[in-house]
Amino acid sequence: MKFTELNKAVEAFRSSKDPRAFRYLYDLLSGRFYYLCLRYLKNEHDAQDILQETFVAVYHKIDSYNGQGSFEGWVRRITVNNCLQKLRMDKKHFIFNEDLLAPDDPIDEESEVSAIEESEESLLKALSELPVGYRTILNLAILEDYSHKEIGTMLNITESTSRSQLSRAKIALREKLNRS
């Protein structure tokens, strides 16, 4: 997708609120953000609901996008917030279970190599099987590139908790991959 395409489509939608321009934006972005939702939410139905909420919000709040910064980043933030909100509403509090991984579990180089060769599908599956707290922090810290400070604010935890939980989440994921 060309950068100019998205920009022009955004401008067309902002200026005219034309439904067709919005549809075009949806066509350009929906697949990517649907995938993002799947990473956070585990099941397709929830991901579809959140994608819907996201684009409805984009439609209604387009005026609050001032054109500075990436439009995609703006939509991404809305999507992530909606995903987190969904997890909260489902009463899936971000409880980080430190007992998930036994401290004496051996981690050798060979298992690491096998993990690296994991396919996208199995990786996504392993991610979805992680506890919601680990899954969320992996998504936020690694795939969305949020800082620990930002993550702390979003999840209502301290920065140090965010860091430690990220480390544990990585170990948990690797363990999942090795076992699968």
Partner: protein
């Protein structure tokens, strides 16, 4: 640390910037939430033609009824004296109510008088204008009731009396006979005269020119035999926009073919509102079929401009190898049909008559009440889901009607009309479509 970085790399490489296929119903749900379906067309646009149709039908019904009565009356008008009688009939219709009221009030008194073979003396007033006026004042009720007859121009034809002395039955019997339908038509005039005399009103005051006019009017009445027209029409239509034509007229085209066909057929009801003016209302069915086949080059900038107007080219169907930021879409093909139901109101104004030929200006206002779009074939380009309200719009048309009256009740002709859509906002499909319809018309006049 290395392990940690490897996991990060693994995640980013495999799960970052990926896409998944979104089920189509997600967009449907979004669309429903963002754009709640419009609640149909405003009833206002249905009411106008509806009311006009209803009014026309009502007029038609009563006019036919009235015509029938007049015809029944005029059937016995064969000579001047009977024409006068007919005129009296018409003139006294206005005083029927007044008469009825007074007649009822005087009925009991009259009954007593009429028991012994009441003879009602009626005499045509013959005298000077002054005498007439005096008489008129004395019988103001009658004069008021007959305003057309009270202008002082008295028929002064001594010796010409309208004899009403013959066989005037008692009022009671007359009422009964009339209600039973047994009163011969030719007796009606005498009966009315008798009724007026009974009330003390002198009914036999007729301005000469009034009578003369009445006499002369009889043939005119017979000529004025059509006020209503039922018409059917049908014919081909040509149109310019052809729904998404602007998309194809920009950019560089090659291998271009374009065909369009259309027709409109309808029926209408017209009322002759004036000597030259007719108003009408009708319903019509319109269908258009369009077929395109193009190679299309379009600039990147135009692409988005077009996109805002609703036309799309899926990116996968576009070659974007050129250095000049042009997209190239090959073998664009489109084949689709649009059907519409229209309600129309309008008017025609006759501008020319030569023997049996008539030419009239025609002005028509139409509104779409039901539309559908059927895409037969569409390649390369992509249309969003069709929304019927895109075609709900109004049309204003003007044209010329040329008709030939080949029978007293029937005529046929051509009615070419140019129409343009009134909706100011260019919509996705149609733009501001212009259309030329050339239908053949058949009309029945009554």
């Amino acid at each position: 640390m290395k392990e940690s970085n490897d996991i990060e790399k693994l995640l980013k490489d495999n799960l970052s910037d990926k896409t998944a296929v979104v089920p189509e119903f997600v967009w449907d749900r979004i669309e429903r939430e963002i754009y709640p379906r419009k609640k149909g067309r405003s009833i206002f646009w249905f009411l106008i033609p509806g009311i006009l149709l209803l009014t026309g039908a009502t007029f038609g019904f009563f006019a036919m009824h009235d015509e029938h009565r007049k015809n029944a009356g005029s059937a016995v008008v064969n000579h001047p004296s009977k024409e006068v009688a007919e005129t009296i009939n018409e003139g006294t219709q206005d005083v029927d109510r007044e008469f009825q009221r007074k007649a009822d009030a005087n009925l009991s008194r009259t009954k007593q008088q009429s028991q012994s073979d009441v003879r009602i003396k009626s005499t045509a007033f013959q005298g000077s204008t002054a005498d007439f006026r005096e008489k008129q004042q004395e019988r103001s009720i009658g004069v008021k009731a007959l305003p057309a007859l009270g202008n002082g121009n008295i028929l002064a034809q001594p010796g010409k009396r309208i004899n009403t002395d013959n066989a005037v039955p008692p009022l009671e019997n007359m009422h009964q006979a009339e209600s039973d339908g047994f009163v011969p038509q030719e007796d009606t005039a005498s009966f009315r005269i008798a009724q007026l005399s009974l009330l003390g009103v002198s009914p036999f005051v007729f301005p000469a020119e009034r009578i003369e006019h009445a006499v002369n009017a009889v043939p005119e009445l017979q000529k004025r035999d059509t006020r209503f027209t039922l018409s059917i029409y049908g014919g081909s239509s040509m149109y310019d926009v052809a729904v998404i034509k602007p998309y194809f007229t920009s950019g560089q085209l090659s291998n271009r073919t374009f065909t369009s066909t259309g027709y409109e057929a309808g029926a209408g009801f017209a009322y002759k509102a004036g000597k030259r003016l007719e108003i009408y209302a009708g319903v019509a069915f319109n269908e258009k079929r369009t077929s395109f086949n193009y190679n299309l080059a379009i600039t990147e900038s135009d692409f988005f401009e077009r996109y805002v107007h609703g036309e799309m080219i899926p990116l996968k169907n576009i070659n974007d190898d050129g250095v000049n930021s042009c997209f190239l879409a090959k073998d664009v093909a489109a084949d689709y049909g649009i059907t519409s139901w229209l309600l129309s109101i309008g008017g025609t104004y006759r501008i020319f008559t030569q023997k049996k030929f008539t030419a009239s200006l025609d002005l028509r206002f139409s509104t779409n009440v039901k539309n559908s779009l059927e895409i037969k074939n569409f390649t390369v380009l992509e249309l969003p889901e069709y929304a019927p309200e895109h075609f709900n719009r109004m049309k204003l048309g003007g044209g010329l009607r040329i008709s030939y009256q080949f029978h007293r009740h029937f005529s046929a002709g051509l009615a070419p009309m140019y129409a343009i859509q009134l909706d100011g906002k260019e919509s996705f499909f149609a733009g501001r479509m212009q259309e030329l319809i050339i239908p053949v018309t058949f009309s029945y006049h009554f």
